[in-house]
Amino acid sequence: MFPETAQRLKAAAPLVSQTRLLKDLSRLYPHGGAFSLQSRRQISVSGCLSAKIQPPRKPREPVEIPGLEMVTYGERMHFVPGLAKPRYPRWERDYKDPRYYTAPPAQEMPLYKEKPCHVFNQRTSALEGVRQAAWLTKAKVIPGLPPHLLSLAENPENQIPDQDERVQNAIKHARFWDTTQERPRKEKYSNTLLLNLLHLCATLQSRNPAIGRRILAEDHSLAATWTRGDDLFQIRGRNGLLHTSMDPLPEVSGKDEVSQTADYVLETFYPVSPTIDLQQVNVYKEDVNCSGFTGDYPYPHAHTLYFLETTDSCKLRPEQFRAKMVMFTFGNALARAHKLYGTEPQQLLDRPVTVQAVGTNGRIFQFLVFQLNTTDLSGDDGIKNQLWLEDDVELYDFAKVRPLIKKKQVKVPAGLTGYKPEVFTKFLSLYLHGAA
């Protein structure tokens, strides 16, 4: 209420401890009016803890009189009372030492631009999830995978011998047998499960030589740029696993369907801006389009991306994880389209670029097929890209090391329960797409 009251309180009670004083003051200032007094906390732990705190000393403002030379004690090399403090110019090392490097402010950097760029990276957690990703990529979301894709793995020639038993062994190896401890950790078992399933699918190479025209690449860096309306967008980041192939994937939907997407209206989520949660940078390189590989790479076409939910650095919720999958698939497709057809926006690509993606957390799988029909993304009208998404498919219900017992009844037995073979069929069909 009254600062004078507070000051008198403080003067009258020099030995009252700070916390009690604050409690008293907080009663006087119920809405945090004593904020300025609270901000000066007693941090030092040596010496007397309960004395009154001196008010902050305001430094004397130096007076600048132009034309007047101040007499400093700089030449005398020691302090002399009455003379001014010498002011020296800033010293810079004449050699470069990385330990003592301070970055210049953004405005002085050579790549600084006035217009900000919105960057989507590995750690971005988009608020609106797949809707936001669909708006940013100008894509029409179609729930469920294309049916002709699923029929690929129904063909008995394309199936692995003893498929169910081997997949169940792969799951058990990943979930139970891979460690000397009782159970492996989530990031370990999700990684092992994905690698085991890929190893199983790759054993079909003996019957299907077209699978031999692919290779797995770890940790490549992706960069792609596009504009949407007035905003500039970039996608940058390092992917987990990428399956690249010598041959491009065939297009999933025909020309008719593609031309029909022109009538589709993109879903907006007013009042939330579509650029929410994207990193805004003013220092960026324009027109970066890099698929992660240089020169004449023998496997130029992206086939499938594999995403794992990393639990340590950034934990993404399922919707945001799916958005990340969409964005990175789109980024790979766009980078390759730019390389093939140039960076000028094209209304309709002659051959749409198709890229697939699979995301998992060790039990739940998300399947995605993205078809890039157009690189003209500035307007909201015209031909759209297409996106088939099948989300939250469980490969098995439970994989328990010890049974779940409630009220002396076994609710869930130990071991693998609730295995669903159709999920692996979808995985296999995505793997075989383009080869079978």
Binding site: N169, K172, H173, F176, W177, D178, T179, T180, T192, L195, N196, H199, A202, T203, Q205, S206, I211, G212, I215, L216, A217, E218, D219, H220, S221, C290, G292, F293, T294, G295, D296, Y297, P298, Y299
Partner: protein, 492 residues
């Protein structure tokens, strides 16, 4: 004549004294007459006989006793036997329990008996319980690191694991010498297709695949600058993993084992064993004998596990003649350090996994032991030693764990040899090793009469390719590639 006869009824420890005033001949008859005459004879300690007439009854040596021979002839006058027809009964052999040392007494023999009982218990239990019984008790043990900075580590490890090193590879992998060309026949292209089961075209495909993999990692892919001392892991780790996966998948059509195999990335391989003993120098257990325990905890870059066992390279008996270096110093002088923690025996997957046998392991030489760094520290001679020690320890641990998963252990030695392979590389130089485990019985009590030795074959390091320049792999060595393919093609 007075005879004292100590007798005892069948199975009774009570001795009764019979005083008989008879003559020896009559005594013999009496003995035969008695229903348990035979038993009496056998169980008589001694027969007192006071010899002499009445004159000598109270002489000084009255207490002197003579002993009649215990063994009465069994075939005494045969006809006398016939008189006992009516009273003849079947002579039963008494069955007494074996005399063994006590189980609970505070004595050395009781301790030995306890150990015996434990061994019998382990032999009689299923495999999972065997493993847990063997590794149950934690004690201080030497931790053997496969990748070690110690000098001449391979000789020490050979001694710890009873392994003999044979330079070169077994006959399976050494190509047969090309016969001299005779009668104008053109030199067969056998030199090219030295890999059995793969044609020229297929080999050329594999060659181009390997080229593409190397180029992908070293040339085409944009990578960030590697961290300090993690150059090998971040540059050649992905290259080797891609190489192994691509070759395994490609060779699946020639080697059906690989189709059913399991490929592990950075698995754990552990093994625990005992070898040798020492006298405890100090403490409340001073002067006792203590077995020396060892533990290997290894993490290869990747490994291939299969469902069937690989065939042996040489028969068991061939290892009897091999030489294992003997080191008389204590292990801690190597230097080797002791710790106490969980004893693990692990092949890379737990017991229920169907792929319980090992095929090939791949190891990456880390920056710390890279040959350039060894050259800087003037230890270039230790480069090969390091590779051998690494292969020895890793493969011994893997094959030993495989044998234990099948139920063989210290006191139940392997009935068939366990075989595995390893490739150790630093990205440019490749070394190939084959290991045959002939014995797991390495502890003091089981090693005394054990002529079997384990065998390690190995090559020197061979260059796969010189360098990558302008999008081309320069100097790809076909022989090394052939060896690699042969290793992966190994099947029963």
């Amino acid at each position: 004549m007075k005879i004292e006869l100590y007798t005892s009824a069948a199975r009774s420890p009570i001795w009764t004294k019979l005083h008989l005033r008879t003559r020896p001949a009559l005594l013999a008859a009496l003995i035969l007459f008695l229903p348990e005459g035979g038993a009496v004879v056998r169980s008589c300690w001694f027969v007192h006989q006071r010899i002499g007439s009445r004159r000598k009854r109270h002489t000084a040596n009255m207490a002197a006793r003579t002993r009649l021979p215990l063994l009465f002839p069994k075939n005494l006058p045969p006809f006398r036997h016939k008189k006992l027809v009516h009273t003849e009964t079947a002579v039963k052999e008494p069955a007494y329990p074996p005399i063994v040392a006590s189980l609970t007494a505070k004595s050395k023999s009781a301790r030995l008996r306890q150990v015996e009982e434990q061994v019998k218990k382990i032999c009689a239990s299923p495999v999972q319980e065997k493993l847990s019984l063997i590794t149950r008790i934690q004690r201080k043990k030497f931790v053997v690191y496969p990748q070690t900075f110690s000098r001449n580590a391979d000789r020490w490890y050979q001694h710890f694991t009873k392994t003999a090193y044979i330079p070169g590879l077994p006959e399976k992998f050494t190509p047969a010498p090309v016969e001299p060309v005779a009668e104008g026949s053109s030199p067969s292209p056998a030199a090219l297709t030295a890999v059995p089961g793969i044609g020229d075209d297929a080999f050329a495909d594999l060659r181009s695949l390997v080229t593409r993999v190397i180029l992908q990692e070293q040339w085409h892919m944009k990578k960030r600058k590697p961290f300090l001392y993690r150059h090998q892991e971040q540059t050649f780790g992905p290259l080797l993993r891609s190489l192994v996966t691509e070759l395994t998948h490609n060779l699946g059509k020639y080697n059906p084992l690989l189709l059913l195999s399991s490929l592990d990335i950075s698995p754990q391989v552990n093994f625990y064993w005992r070898r040798g003993q020492r006298i405890i120098p100090k403490g409340h257990r001073r002067r006792h004998l203590e077995p020396t325990r060892f533990q290997i905890d290894d993490q290869p870059l990747c490994q291939i596990r299969i469902t069937q066992q690989l065939p042996q390279f040489t028969p068991l008996e061939a290892s009897y003649a091999a030489e294992v270096p003997e080191i008389t110093y204590a292990p801690n002088l190597m230097p080797l350090f002791r710790r106490q923690y969980d004893n693990n025996i692990f092949t890379g997957a737990k017991l229920p996994d169907p792929a319980c046998y090992g095929h090939t392991q791949f190891h990456l030489v880390p920056d710390r032991y890279h040959r350039d760094r060894m050259a800087r520290m003037q230890q270039s001679d230790q480069v090969e030693v390091f590779l051998r020690a690494n292969a020895l320890a890793s493969l011994f641990a893997w094959t030993g764990a495989q044998a234990m998963y099948q139920g063989f252990w210290n006191h139940e030695d392997v009935t068939r040899p366990f075989v595995s392979q390893a490739v150790i590389t630093d990205g440019h130089f490749f070394s190939f090793f084959c290991y045959q485990l002939n014995t797991v019985a390495l502890s003091v009590e089981t090693d005394a009469n054990n002529p079997r030795k384990n065998l390690l074959w190995g090559t020197e390091s061979l260059r796969l390719y010189d360098s990558v320049q302008d999008g081309e792999v320069v100097g790809l060595n076909d022989d090394v590639l052939k060896l690699l393919v042969q290793f992966l093609m190994n099947q029963p």
